[in-house]
């Protein structure tokens, strides 16, 4: 027999949907079916049941093959590479819970590591901009209940955050938005005609890498100043029209993604986007929100924010927190040979970092802590499989609008598997033994 667990949180993307239903066996050891989730989220739940799942740590041998080791051996190896390094890099953190992130931060302090999360190749640039000029933001609840002007800039939620548009941004009927999408105007700025752009009232097909100029043009248009005939490949009439559409709304929300955070200008693009939002507040109510990717990358920034004062790329090597993206960011450290050991947890730099950085991970003492077999586990010396957070263990996660949501355990992990939190706690104990403190 089976039973249905309701109100489950989906641990995939930053939308952190909280209406998932999961069918599990009576003894809670098997997960059968997933309802309400998008295709990606459902796959994440179902993958915990994979027959070929790796359930014990393994160490790379000289001939390239894997040898199964015990968790104790993996704990000892991890502790030793961190203790022996002068400046280890502890990267990832975005697909685990805040509890594990907090213990990881303590390890970072004890060994003098650089801790960095996936924001470094994602929305870290947004965080720089927020630090530079602040951010007028809101929650997704406010968007659902109030927003009638939706602007998607350099993001494609139809594919990356599949339920975002139906739950929060375009289609839902909220308290002051009873007519749903019929009363909302949608603008999409993207160089490509995406599936999100297909549902837009206005699609501004910006020239690649000219977002900063277009943001600036919007600000000029709001003030009624003269624009050149074309900005970023878009005729000025269309920019004035879009600016007017935004100004005439009751509540404007700007969502932005990696199309602006990781293209030319990076933090400057977001800086300008926030300035656009600030300007709009002269005429109506406006807010802006990054479309965070991993389900708890926001939480990682929160944890380090409260512990160290900085949301990513925190260098603890000198005993106090330093932060300077461009120097203390994972790729710069790897590329420049600034670190001498690497711990990767809850992320996959092997698939997303430039080859030059991945090669450095391969050359250094390295551990990957991840439930899955990934390109990263393929280049690391030791792979530690752990339980799925949000499926096999609960814990706190932060949604893209900085709302903390407690994820739930719905099924038992395979026998004898550790969680991120347990593993890191044991590593911390072992480090203290090795350091004799």
């Amino acid at each position: 027999m089976s039973r249905t667990v309701t109100d489950v949180i989906c641990p995939f993307c930053g939308t952190l949907c909280d209406d998932i239903e999961v069918v599990v066996s009576d003894d809670g050891r098997k997960l059968h079916e997933v309802y309400n989730a998008c295709a990606i989220g459902a796959e994440k739940f179902l993958h915990s049941q994979a027959k070929d799942r790796i359930t014990r740590p393994r160490m790379r041998q000289d001939d390239g093959s894997w040898k199964e080791i015990t968790y104790d051996e993996a704990i000892d190896y991890t502790a030793r590479i961190l203790v022996n390094a002068k400046k280890p890099l502890m990267y990832g953190w975005s697909s685990t819970n805040c509890e594990a992130q907090a213990i990881g931060s303590e390890i970072g302090e004890v060994v003098g590591a650089v801790v960095d999360n996936t924001a470094t190749v994602c929305h870290g640039t947004s965080l720089i901009a927020v630090q530079d000029i602040g951010i007028p933001s809101c929650t997704l609840g406010e968007v659902k209940n109030r927003a009638d002007r939706i602007l998607f800039w350099g993001c494609n939620p139809a594919h990356a955050h599949p339920r975002h548009m139906s739950r929060y941004s375009i289609f839902p009927r909220g308290f002051f938005t009873g007519k749903g999408h019929t009363a909302r105007k949608v603008i999409v700025v993207d160089p490509r005609p995406t599936d999100t752009a297909n549902v837009a009232d206005i699609h501004l097909q910006v020239e690649q890498g000219r977002d900063y100029e277009l943001f600036d043009a919007f600000r000029v248009a709001f003030k009624g100043e003269q624009l050149p005939d074309f900005v970023a490949g878009i005729p000025k009439e269309k920019i004035y029209e879009a600016a007017e559409m935004l100004k005439s709304g009751r509540f404007v929300i700007i969502f932005f993604g990696m199309g602006v955070t990781q293209s030319l200008g990076k933090n400057h693009n977001i800086d300008a986007a926030i300035a656009v939002t600030r300007d709009l507040n002269e005429y109506t109510k406006a807010a802006i929100m990054p479309m965070r990717g991993h389900y708890n990358v926001t939480g990682s920034g929160q944890v380090w924010g409260w512990l160290f004062g900085f949301p990513y790329a925190v260098d603890l090597s000198r005993g106090f927190a330093r932060y300077n993206p461009g120097e203390t960011t994972a790729n710069d450290l790897l590329r420049r040979d600034e670190v001498d050991a690497v711990l990767v947890i809850a992320s996959d730099p092997g698939a997303h970092f430039p080859f030059s950085s991945v090669r450095k991970i391969y050359e250094l003492p390295s551990v990957a802590i991840d439930p899955h077999e990934t390109p990263t586990t393929e280049v690391c010396k030791v792979h530690v499989p752990v339980a799925f957070v949000g499926v096999e263990v609960g814990g706190c996660a932060y949604r893209m609008d900085n709302v903390p949501i407690e994820t739930r355990k719905v099924v038992e992990p395979p026998d004898g598997m550790m969680t991120d939190e347990e593993f890191l706690r044991r590593v911390l104990e072992r480090i203290k033994e090795l350091q004799g403190v």
Binding site: V111, I128, D132, Y212, V220, K223, A275, S317, N324, R336
Partner: protein, 268 residues
């Protein structure tokens, strides 16, 4: 002026953080005391003398102390950080943060420097006989008060993000620059003798940018005003004057709105 000579003898395993290499830290110290100053490699603290041969003599005050550094310093950070006086001459390439938060004195680098040179500079002179990296004379992360005084002269090219949040002082680039010049600037002057790419003066409130070469793309927030003749401090010729960033906030003085200014050379 007394001179201390440092010669690099051992390379660090990772990078060397040498924020103690300043006339301020050296002044009034004997050679042995200078060799005992701290440097860092990762989390490990070392003596300066483990990496450098120290010779010569330091002056009694920073103003009377000159430091000459030889050897390969391409993995050394923070040279001349927060110095208030005296002189440093480096005969090598340098890594990040040379002259960061510098307040006075002079640094001459006979080589290239990496990013964040002259970060948050307040005074003094930083002369780079080579190329500079990104964030030259920019604000430290999150600070809205960037370079406020002093002078940076680069003979070669410079990277992106020059003079971010600049409020005063002068940056002169002999060659070309990458994108984002004087973003958010509220004062100061940047002279580019070569070519510029795009995004000059984005979100600029006040200040001046002079470009002798080409500009790939002008910001839409900058409007052409008029041609002007200029002859001052080595800037001579007929320039096209653009004002902006029109989208940004601007102060008024005597009823006149004050804009950021970009001057582009038409003819010398």
């Amino acid at each position: 002026m007394e001179t201390v000579t440092l010669t690099m003898k051992n390379q660090p395993d990772l990078y060397l953080e040498a924020d103690n290499i300043t006339p301020d830290a050296f002044a009034g110290k004997k050679v042995e005391e200078i060799a005992d100053l701290h440097v860092y490699v990762g989390r490990e603290q070392h003596r300066l003398g483990e990496f450098f041969e120290v010779s010569g003599r330091a002056g009694a005050t920073p103003e009377t102390t000159k430091i000459v550094i030889n050897g390969d310093l391409s993995r050394v950070k923070y040279i001349g950080m927060k110095m208030t006086g005296g002189e440093i001459v480096v005969n090598s390439d340098l890594d990040m943060y040379v002259g960061a938060w510098m307040q006075g004195g002079r640094i001459t680098v006979n080589g290239n420097v990496d990013s964040f040179a002259g970060t948050g500079m307040k005074g003094g002179e930083l002369i780079i006989n080579g190329n500079a990296g990104n964030y030259l004379g920019a604000a430290y992360r999150g600070d809205w008060r960037g370079m406020s005084g002093g002078k940076i002269i680069v003979s070669g090219n410079a990277g992106s993000d020059i003079g971010t949040f600049m409020t005063g002082g002068e940056i002169i680039i002999g060659g070309d620059v990458d994108v984002h010049v004087a973003t958010h600037a509220e004062g100061g002057r940047i002279v580019i003798k070569g070519n510029a790419k795009s995004r000059l003066g984005g979100q600029m409130v006040e200040g001046e940018i002079y470009v002798f070469g080409t500009i790939d793309l002008m910001m839409p927030g900058f409007a052409y005003r008029q041609d002007v003749d200029i002859d001052m401090d080595g800037i001579k010729g007929r320039f096209a004057l653009y004002e902006g960033d029109l989208g940004e906030r601007h102060r008024k003085r005597k009823g006149q709105t004050i804009y950021g200014k970009i001057y582009q050379l038409i003819e010398a």
